[in-house]
Subunit: 206 residues, 2 copies
């Protein structure tokens, strides 16, 4: 498939683009607000680069991999260009405190709020994959994906399956994004507490 | 330690009591609204039985293992008897729909609401352990525990470490309960989708 990675010059977006490029099965285009930075990152990874709005043209799936505070503004900015193209939301809002990391106190997930801003279907996932774990090689982790639209979820699962050694798993409706986004804070807390590079594996699958 | 399991006649409470009894390191007392049912379940498991309010007397840790819709009323009911005893909240509210299971739409976790009702410190955890997985033997899963009070969290981690073959892990402040409680819905969705008995393992620990 053809995939746009919006925010593809950030640490997570770049690592995801590198993994997809290495898997070699998709056409990857990196999007950025700054076309020069997109072009530089794209050249480094051997993929295409463009502005966010250009990057989403003609793709099968767009990945909203910008930082959490840019997720809503970027969704607003690209909504027109994106049209009905499926979108995968991977952002998690975190608030850092001396005693631990907290997820966004807002009840509704970023993914659910994004879904109200764009015309196409939204899936959410990859929240437990750290950029650092993803950067070198496909990590020995599972990737959880949720969504209300079967097609968007299927595309997102297909993408997720290419970047981890474990399973890409359907975690239910888009409402599961509340838990998945909150898991990012849990992962960061585990990393701090145990000096770990934590990820998840689901046990008990048939 | 001495542990009270409130709602110890339910499927999760009973499985947890059985695992602790098998580990043999704690004094376990099962609490129930109905003292006769508590006594029957306790006799079956070889532990003590009492009403919820009696069960918490003199324990090191009380586990609030009632069903989600009983968590808040039970916390109110036992608050006086519990005093400053640490409490471990394990409930997750779920709403079942044709297209998947959703976590409680309330922004605040059950654990955070419980913490406002009792005088002692509250930890939250064990949300990814299914009663069915816990019932037969210690499952090959990790258990996640969070909390703002170091003592309550330490006691909860000690208990969690006795009932799983994997690690008992500190997942950060009590605010992490939002993600942990939401994970129960994710686990149920995975079970439905893959006919699984899903649990979690954290990868990347040192």
């Amino acid at each position: 498939m053809r995939v746009a990675i919006l925010g593809g010059t950030g640490s997570f977006g770049r690592a995801l683009a590198a993994r997809l490029a290495a898997a070699g099965e998709d056409e990857v285009v990196i999007g950025s607000r700054d076309p020069a930075r997109a072009a530089a990152a794209a050249a480094e990874l051997g993929v295409e680069g463009a502005t966010n709005a250009e990057a989403v043209q003609g793709v099968d799936l767009a990945v909203l991999a910008v930082k959490a505070d840019a997720a809503i503004p970027t969704a607003e900015e690209i909504a027109g260009a994106l049209g009905e193209t499926p979108l995968l939301s991977v952002a998690s809002a975190l608030s850092f405190g001396a005693d631990g990391v907290r997820a966004d106190p807002d009840a509704r997930s970023i993914a659910e709020r994004v879904a109200e801003l764009v015309r196409g279907p939204v899936a959410a996932g990859l929240h437990t994959l750290a950029a650092a774990n993803l950067a070198a090689e496909p990590p020995d982790e599972d990737a959880l994906v949720c969504g209300d639209d079967p097609r968007a979820k299927e595309l997102a699962l297909e993408l997720a399956g290419r970047v981890v050694r474990g399973h890409a798993l359907d975690a239910g409706p888009l409402a599961s994004a509340r838990a998945l986004e909150g898991l990012t804070a849990v992962i960061v807390n585990l990393n701090r507490r145990y000096r770990a590079h934590a990820g998840l594996r689901v046990t008990g699958l048939p």
